[in-house]
């Protein structure tokens, strides 16, 4: 025998568990004084190449850097990143298409955060699922390579909307694939107004210095609020360029 169904109010965020854990991690990172930056992109946009160069350079500059790297299978990326001689740990997610706060927490179990200046977290190559999961990072970089086309932000608005900075990679190929930088920047602005874009090529070195300067400024600035400062000037410059 059954009674009538009763309506029961719940009002609970489905990702509450992850969000609470991420908030706790963010608190731990701040307390330890470690800047945490995550990277998201499609597979093959150049996360690992950029990260390898970043770790090598920052170590040479005397910064204590480390990386966590997520992948469905293989430890290839961790091996590539380990060439920088920075501490690196692979998170093999199995069939799971994204990292979550719990995986990050477990991976950090035997690391001392106080010994780090910057921790990078390379997410699984995927522009859909990672957007739902806060990892406790202070800054999320979304990468798009010039070979993917200018409309990537329009196709994946959610992930671009959760990111703080857009890095356009493989700029050395821009002419070969007729990449329209103006259109790409406009698309980024439509999805995430005010978001800074950084264009670079790990291979040719183009744009790498301003990218490193940007990261170094973050290390000393308490909050990423400075991010938007240069955007207005940059956008005005693009508009002028288009009008000519």
């Amino acid at each position: 025998m059954s009674g009538r169904p009763r309506m029961v109010k719940v009002r609970q965020n489905v990702l509450k568990h992850n969000d609470l854990l991420a908030r706790m991690l963010r608190g731990r990172f701040e307390e330890a004084g470690v800047l945490v930056i995550s990277l998201v992109s499609t597979p093959g946009a150049g996360k690992t190449a950029l990260l390898e160069r970043t770790l090598t350079r920052m170590r040479a500059d005397g910064l204590r850097v480390a990386a966590l790297v997520g992948d469905l299978a293989t430890e290839n990326d961790a091996r590539r990143l380990a060439r920088s001689e920075a501490p690196v740990k692979q998170i093999v997610t199995g069939t799971i298409c994204h990292l979550d706060a719990e995986m990050v927490q477990h991976a950090l179990d035997d690391w001392s955060l106080a010994d780090l200046d910057i921790l990078f977290i390379e997410n699984v190559g995927n522009l859909v699922c990672p957007s739902s999961y806060d990892l406790g990072e202070r800054l999320r970089l979304v990468l798009m390579s010039v070979t993917e086309g200018e409309d990537k932000p329009l196709k994946y608005p959610t992930i671009f909307n959760t990111a703080d900075v857009c890095v356009i990679t493989k700029m050395d190929l821009a002419d070969a694939v007729e990449f329209d930088l103006y259109a790409a920047r406009e698309n980024v602005q439509a999805i995430r107004p005010g978001m800074r874009t950084i264009e670079l090529s790990v291979k040719s070195g183009e744009g790498m210095e301003s990218y490193f300067d940007f990261l170094c400024d973050l290390c000393v600035s308490p909050r990423p609020s400075a991010l938007k400062a240069s955007v207005n000037a940059e956008t005005a410059e693009i508009r002028r360029g288009a009008a000519e």
Partner: protein, 121 residues
């Protein structure tokens, strides 16, 4: 596709509520879903049905309320629903806005629970 793990979390939440209320069967789950949550409605509906099997939610309906994306416009001092998530502009003045006030929602708002009474013979 992470909708299956999202569905499992929803069911876990509902189960906790059922246990807290001393048992019963869930006949419907009401969810608020925003386009910026990163969850695809169709994939969630598909996953939900599978994930409900052999639980107190088996056969229950998933009732989704679509929540539109709303931005706050600093110029108009108003919250407006955007025309497209590909363009986060105030519909009044056309200004781009980075302040999303609604649309990331992924929230279980209510459950319909049928209390199962013991059979008296």
């Amino acid at each position: 596709m992470h909708e299956l793990s999202i569905a499992l979390s929803m069911i876990e939440m509902a189960n906790e509520e059922v246990v807290r209320r001393g048992g019963g069967r869930v006949t419907a789950l009401h969810l608020k879903l925003g386009p910026l949550s990163g969850v695809v409605r169709e994939a969630l509906e598909f996953s939900y049905e599978i994930a409900c099997q052999d639980t107190a939610l088996e056969g229950s309906r998933l009732i989704i309320e679509d929540v539109p994306v709303m931005v706050h416009c600093a110029r108009c001092r108003q919250d407006t629903v955007v025309e497209s998530i590909q363009s986060l502009r105030c519909v009044r003045c056309g200004e781009l806005s980075s302040e999303v006030v609604q649309g990331r929602d992924l929230e279980v708002v209510a459950l319909e629970i049928e209390e199962v009474e013991e059979l008296v013979t």
